[in-house]
Symmetry: C2
DNA sequence: GTCCGTATACATGTATACAAAATCAGAGGC
DNA sequence: GCCTCTGATTTTGTATACATGTATACGGAC
């Protein structure tokens, strides 16, 4: 039970919705759960805090990240900036093998999404989408932002059930990539993100 | 000596150039230096790693962030995306008090810069510049990126000596803000970042 | 002379124990 | 009934001690 393993496990729990936003993550409890002392747990929590999916302040127990609507606005806006730029660079760079890798990722992400694992599939799809851009740092940052958004999404069943719609939008983006049309890919991606943001914000107002 | 204090001190040392990129940051040494055990040192290092100004991997000693030219390219590109967007939103939002705060920040940053503290002044200036955009998350992310860039810049005396030129560019940006011209501000900011990137990359090729 | 294996030294990782801070519950006052 | 203060409980922070992992240097084989 290494800190990395603990962090990965917790992240999976958070992204699956098992640990909804605001859930307290006590060090003692987690230490007991994973059968280790609190030290590696602290490391794991630090990792998750670095990734931005939990909030941690000194002397208070960490909690699963909980955004308000303004913060959701910001997050999705940053995603648009970074991801639209990435896809714009990725499309012209796509080799035949990139295209097939993208198809594969789309398919695998559909499977994941239908196995109650939307976040994981979404992450995989977008990773394949931006990989040809060859921008590891920017992609990593976009990944973090997307994960933070997924944490919020995962807590609303009604949104997870929109998976079908989002998969359709993914297909459209892939089509634009295969057609070698960066502008269209950007446009569809922007729409995709805007739609996701709107649904999330609407759900949050309950 | 709280972890926060330790992290702040180390960050200042790194941004001043006292600890150039690649410098090893041994836990034991730091614990001795700050007169604490290794635990709070580990926390401090985790914070710095989260901020992206050191590199830390399990079972090896952390080192001050060292970027190659491709990574510098990426960092500055992300800065352009985030910061140009921020300034575009900030300018139309600037109140009279924002304008005077900006002037003050410009002045204070000039003083800092001439006191061998370029990074701190630069940080302060850009913070004031983007504050009216009311985008705390995006500003924080831009801050991190800028800090990481400053770490590299700080290690080249020849670049630090360009402070005068950069201050002049800052003045130009401020002028565009006072004129209420977001497009011009964005253009100048983009030029500013491009110039900084070019000089850094050129210096790195030695 | 070069390469590889091993042993030693060193740095990091983790557990336990204790200290400090924060939270919570209940008694008292308004 | 509500707020406030206080004490008890819980939770996090830190120091020490030990375990584990990594890098280095040395010796031997080829």
């Amino acid at each position: 039970m290494t800190p990395q393993t603990i962090a990965d496990t917790l992240q999976a729990d958070i992204l699956s919705g098992a640990l909804p936003p605001g859930t307290p993550l006590g060090q003692t409890d987690l230490a007991a759960r994973f059968g280790v002392s609190r030290i590696p747990v602290r490391d794991a929590l630090a990792q998750l805090a670095a990734g931005g999916i939990i909030t941690a302040s000194p002397n208070r127990t960490a909690t699963v990240l909980k955004l308000d609507t303004a913060e959701v606005e910001e997050m999705f806006h940053m995603r648009m900036l970074l991801e639209c730029d990435l896809i714009g660079r990725a499309v012209p760079n796509m080799t035949p093998s990139d295209h097939s890798a993208l198809d594969l990722a789309l398919e695998r992400s559909s499977l994941e999404a239908r196995q109650d694992n939307w976040a994981s599939g979404d992450q995989m799809f977008h990773a394949a989408l931006y990989a040809p851009a060859k921008r590891p740092l920017q992609s990593a940052m976009a990944d973090d932002l997307r994960r933070a958004c997924s944490v919020q999404v995962a807590s609303y069943d009604q949104l997870v059930e929109k998976a079908e719609r989002w998969l359709t939008e993914h297909e459209g983006i892939v089509a634009a990539c295969h057609a070698g049309d960066p502008k269209e890919a950007q446009r569809l991606l922007r729409r995709h993100l805007r739609a996701a943001r709107n649904h999330l914000q609407k759900a949050m107002k309950d």
